[in-house]
C-alpha cells in the first residue's frame, strides 16, 4: 500500500518536472480566506488562456503580511506579483524600488483616476498597482429577526436606536454583534462606518487634509459619542469579544445587527442559515444626504526584481480586464470591482451594498491609526536616522476610545501628534488599530498646528 503510494508520489513528481520549466508566477497576498477561490476559479481561468504561464497563490496571515512582505522583498525572495495595500504601505515599497511602475499597462485605461489614486505617487505620475476592488461599510442584519419583531429597516439614527431598543426589550437576540477586544473592529466597523455621515464624507476628509478642520472638531468627535451609545446594545462581556466571536454570534443567529464591511458577504453567505439584508449607516434626519465609506482596498503590482516580468505583465493586463472584474466580483461578493466597465453581480446582498453608490456620496476611510512604533518608519525614515528633522508633539487633547467605544479625552498619553520632515502632522492614537482590511491612508491625519 505504502509502496504504491510512494510510487505514485514519485511519478507525479517526475511528471510535474517538465511543467515547472514553464514560467511560474507567485502571488503574495494577505487574503488567505480567498485561497480556494483563487485556486479553483481565478487561476484556472487565466491558465486556460495562457497555457505557458502557471500561477501560484501564496497568501500570508493578514496581520503578518506587511512585515513578512517587506522582509521577503529585502531578502529578494518575494513572489513575482505583490498584492498592494492602499496608500502609504505600497507607496513606500514603490519608493524603495520594490514595486515596478505599471503606468504603461494598456489595462490602466480601464480605471478612473479615483480608483487609481490609492496606488499612485503623490503627483500622480506613476501608477504602480492594478486596482482590484473596494469594500463598502454598512450594517448587515438578520432579516428573519427583523420580520419576527416587526422592525422596519432603519434609515435615521432615531429609528436605528429605536430598533436596537426593541430587539433588546424582546431579549431573543443580542441587538448588535461587535466586540472591542481586537480594537480595530470598533475603529473600522464602528468609527469609519458611521463617521462619514457626520463629517460629510469627502468634504470633511479633504478639509482635514487642507487643514481647515481638525480631528477635535465636533463632526469628528460626534461619532465617538454615538459609538459610546452602542455599548448598551452589545453582548455580555463584549470587552473580551474578538472579531471571530462577533462573526460567529451573528452567523449563528444570536445577534440581530452586525456592523460590517462588505468583505464579510461571502463568508456570511456560506455560514448563515437565515435571510440577511443590509442597510447603509443611518442619517441624522430623514432626507439627509447619506455618505458611505467605499474604500479602495486591494490592488496588485509587480515585484521590480521579478525575473518573469513579461509573464507578470500578461497576468496584470488580464487582472485589469473587464473579464477578470466580473469573475472576481462574483467569486468574492463584497469586493466591488474598481473597473470602469459596469459589472453584473448575482449576489443580492452585494447588489444591496453596491446600490448605495447610487444614492449616497462615497468617501474613503479617513482615519486609521495604530499606537505603535512602526508608523514613524512608514513615514519615511525613523527620527534617529533622519537627523531629528521630525518633531514629536505630545498632546493632551488626543481623541481616544476607552476600549468600550466611548470618548475619553482626558486620558493621556494614549496618542501622539507627530510632525514629519515635510511639516505634516500625524496622529498616532490607540483606538484605531489597523489590520486587514485596514490600513493607513496617506495624509488623512494631517492636522497643521
Amino acid at each position: 500500500m505504502t509502496k504504491t503510494f510512494r510510487t505514485i508520489l514519485l511519478t507525479s513528481t517526475l511528471l510535474a518536472g517538465p511543467a515547472l520549466a514553464e514560467t511560474t508566477l507567485t502571488i503574495e497576498s494577505w487574503r488567505n480566506d480567498d485561497l480556494t477561490i483563487w485556486q479553483d476559479t481565478i487561476i484556472p481561468a487565466f491558465e486556460a488562456q495562457n497555457p505557458d504561464i502557471k500561477v501560484v497563490f501564496a497568501p500570508t496571515a493578514p496581520a503578518e503580511y506587511n512585515a513578512a512582505l517587506n522582509s521577503k522583498l529585502s531578502a529578494g525572495s518575494a513572489g513575482d506579483l505583490i498584492t498592494c495595500r492602499p496608500f502609504d504601505a505600497s507607496l513606500e515599497l514603490y519608493n524603495q524600488g520594490h514595486l515596478a511602475d505599471l503606468s504603461g499597462l494598456a489595462a490602466m485605461a480601464n480605471f478612473s483616476p479615483v480608483a487609481k489614486s490609492a496606488w499612485q505617487t503623490d503627483d500622480g505620475a506613476a501608477t504602480f498597482c492594478v486596482p482590484m476592488a473596494s469594500v463598502i461599510h454598512g450594517f448587515i442584519y438578520n432579516k428573519d429577526a427583523f420580520d419576527a419583531l416587526g422592525i422596519a429597516v432603519p434609515t435615521t439614527r432615531d429609528e436605528f436606536f429605536a430598533a436596537l431598543d426593541k430587539i433588546k426589550a424582546d431579549g431573543t437576540y443580542i441587538p448588535m454583534a461587535m466586540g472591542t477586544n481586537d480594537q480595530w473592529e470598533a475603529a473600522t466597523m464602528g468609527y469609519n462606518n458611521i463617521g462619514p455621515n457626520y463629517w460629510k464624507g469627502e468634504e470633511g476628509r479633504l478639509a482635514l487634509i487642507a487643514g481647515t478642520q481638525k480631528l477635535t472638531d465636533a463632526d469628528w468627535v460626534a461619532p465617538f459619542a454615538e459609538l459610546a451609545k452602542w455599548k448598551d446594545y452589545l453582548g455580555d462581556g463584549f470587552e473580551a469579544q474578538t472579531y471571530p466571536d462577533s462573526q460567529n454570534l451573528f452567523t449563528l443567529g444570536r445577534a440581530a445587527i452586525y456592523p460590517a464591511g462588505s468583505w464579510e458577504i461571502s463568508g456570511f453567505n456560506t455560514q448563515a442559515t437565515f435571510k440577511m439584508g443590509a442597510f447603509p449607516p443611518p442619517v441624522a434626519a430623514a432626507g439627509d444626504t447619506c455618505y458611505i465609506s467605499d474604500h479602495t482596498d486591494i490592488a496588485i503590482g509587480m515585484n521590480a526584481a521579478s525575473p518573469n516580468a513579461e509573464a507578470a505583465k500578461v497576468f496584470l493586463e488580464w487582472v485589469g480586464s473587464p473579464e477578470f472584474a466580473t469573475m472576481y466580483a462574483n467569486a468574492l461578493p463584497g469586493f466591488f470591482s474598481l473597473n470602469s466597465t459596469p459589472v453584473e453581480m448575482q449576489d443580492p446582498l452585494a447588489q444591496e451594498f453596491v446600490s448605495w453608490r447610487g444614492k449616497c456620496q462615497s468617501t474613503i476611510r479617513s482615519t486609521l491609526g495604530q499606537r505603535d512604533q512602526g508608523h514613524r518608519d512608514a513615514r519615511g525614515g525613523s527620527r534617529a536616522s533622519s537627523g531629528g528633522a521630525g518633531k514629536l508633539v505630545r498632546a493632551a487633547e488626543v481623541i481616544c476610545t476607552d476600549g468600550t467605544g466611548g470618548p475619553s479625552a482626558p486620558r493621556t498619553p494614549r496618542g501622539y501628534f507627530w510632525t514629519d520632515e515635510r511639516g505634516r502632522t500625524w496622529l498616532h492614537a490607540s483606538p484605531c488599530v489597523g489590520t486587514s482590511p485596514c490600513f493607513w491612508p496617506r495624509r488623512c491625519w494631517s492636522i497643521p498646528r
Binding site: A63, E64, N66, A67, N70, S71, A89, G179, T180, N181, D182, Q183, G235, D236, G237, F238, E239, A240, Q241, D245, L249, Q370, R371, D372, Q373, G374, H375, R376, D377, A378, S382, R383, A384, S385, L392, R394, G403, P413, R414, Y416, W418, H428, S430, V433, G434, T435, F439, W440
Partner: protein, 300 residues
C-alpha cells in the same frame, strides 16, 4: 597533559557557543547598529538605547512593558511560590493518602503546551462560549463574572494567574524534593525536643529548604522576564486591551518582527533584547552576590 578534558568538553562547548554565545553577542552588537542614510548598517553607539529610554514614542511602551512584567513577576512570587511550598509541605506529610496522584495531577499543566493552556483558558473565560459564566451562575455568583481578559484592569493579573496555574508544579516538585532530602534524624531530634507539626515546619524544615526557595525565585524571575508565549497566544502580539498586558517579550516581538502595519526593525529589536538581557543579568547578579552568599547551608 590534561588534553582529554578539552576533548570531552569540546562537543558541549561548540554546540553551546554556536547556539547561545555567538547569537547573544551578535544581538548585543546589532543593538549598537542602525540603518544609515543610504539604508546601510552603521555603528551608532548607544543611540538605540537613548531612543528606547528617552524618546516618548518608545520609552512609554518600554516602561509600560517593564512595569507589566514586574507585576507579572510579583504575582508569581506572591501566589505561585507560597502555594507551591504549601502543596509540597502537604504532599510530604506521611499521612496523606494518594499523594502520588495529587503530585501528578498538579504537575500535568506544566507539561502542557502553552498554546493549549492559552487557548483552553481563553475558552473557559470567554463571556460568550465559556463555561466560567455558567459555573458562576450555577452557584448564584454570576454578578462576580467579568470579561477578565478584555478589561484593562484585570487582564494582566488574570494572565499571571493562568501562568501560575500552569507552572505551579515546578516549585512544588523542587520543594518536595528538598523536603524529602531532610534526614529523618534531624526531624526525630526535633520531635524529641518537642517541636512538631507547624512549628516543626517553620523552625526546622523551612530553614533547610531556603536554598531551594532561592533557586525557585531566580528561576521564576528569569522565566517571567523572558515570558512571551502565553500573552501572545491569549492576547495576540498587540497584547491588548490597549497594551495592558504588554510585557517585554511581546514588545520585543512586535518591534523585531513587525506586526500589522508596524514593520520589523531588527536594530531597535536588538536594543530591546539587550535591555532585557541587562535586566535579567542584573537580577541574577543581585541574587548571586547579595542573597545566595548569605544563605546558610547545612551539611548532613
Amino acid at each position: 597533559m590534561r588534553w582529554h578534558i578539552a576533548v570531552f568538553l569540546a562537543p558541549a562547548v561548540l554546540v553551546y557557543s554556536a547556539l547561545m554565545i555567538i547569537p547573544l553577542f551578535g544581538t548585543l552588537l546589532q543593538s549598537l547598529m542602525n540603518k544609515g542614510e543610504d539604508g546601510a548598517r552603521v555603528f551608532v553607539g548607544l543611540q538605540n538605547f537613548a531612543t528606547l529610554f528617552g524618546d516618548a514614542l518608545w520609552s512609554d511602551a518600554f516602561w509600560n512593558a517593564l512595569g507589566n512584567n514586574a507585576w507579572f513577576f510579583v504575582i508569581h512570587m506572591l501566589v505561585q511560590n507560597p502555594i507551591g511550598i504549601a502543596l509540597a509541605a502537604i504532599l510530604s506529610t506521611p499521612r496523606l493518602r494518594m499523594a502520588a496522584f495529587y503530585r501528578t495531577a498538579i504537575f500535568i499543566p506544566t507539561i502542557l503546551s502553552f498554546v493549549i493552556v492559552g487557548f483552553v483558558w481563553k475558552l473557559i473565560l470567554s463571556p460568550i462560549w465559556g463555561i466560567a459564566p455558567g459555573m458562576l451562575d450555577a452557584v448564584g455568583l454570576k454578578a462576580l463574572f467579568a470579561p477578565w481578559l478584555g478589561k484593562e484592569e484585570y487582564a494582566l493579573t488574570t494572565l499571571a494567574l493562568i501562568s501560575v496555574w500552569q507552572f505551579i508544579g515546578i516549585p512544588m516538585m523542587l520543594i518536595y524534593a528538598a523536603l524529602l532530602s531532610i534526614p529523618d534524624e534531624v526531624l526525630e531530634a526535633a520531635e524529641m525536643d518537642g517541636i512538631t507539626g507547624w512549628s516543626q515546619f517553620w523552625k526546622i524544615k523551612l530553614p533547610l529548604i531556603l536554598p531551594a526557595i532561592g533557586i525557585i525565585s531566580i528561576l521564576t524571575f528569569v522565566g517571567n522576564f523572558n515570558a512571551f508565549d502565553l500573552i501572545y497566544v491569549a492576547q495576540g502580539a498587540l497584547a491588548g486591551p490597549d497594551f495592558s498586558t504588554d510585557i517585554l517579550g511581546t514588545f520585543l516581538y512586535r518591534t523585531f518582527f513587525g506586526f500589522q502595519l508596524q514593520l520589523g526593525d531588527p536594530y531597535m529589536g536588538s536594543a530591546i533584547a539587550g535591555a532585557m538581557f541587562g535586566i535579567i543579568l542584573l537580577g541574577v547578579c543581585v541574587y548571586l552576590f547579595a542573597i545566595q552568599t548569605r544563605l546558610r547551608r547545612y551539611q548532613f
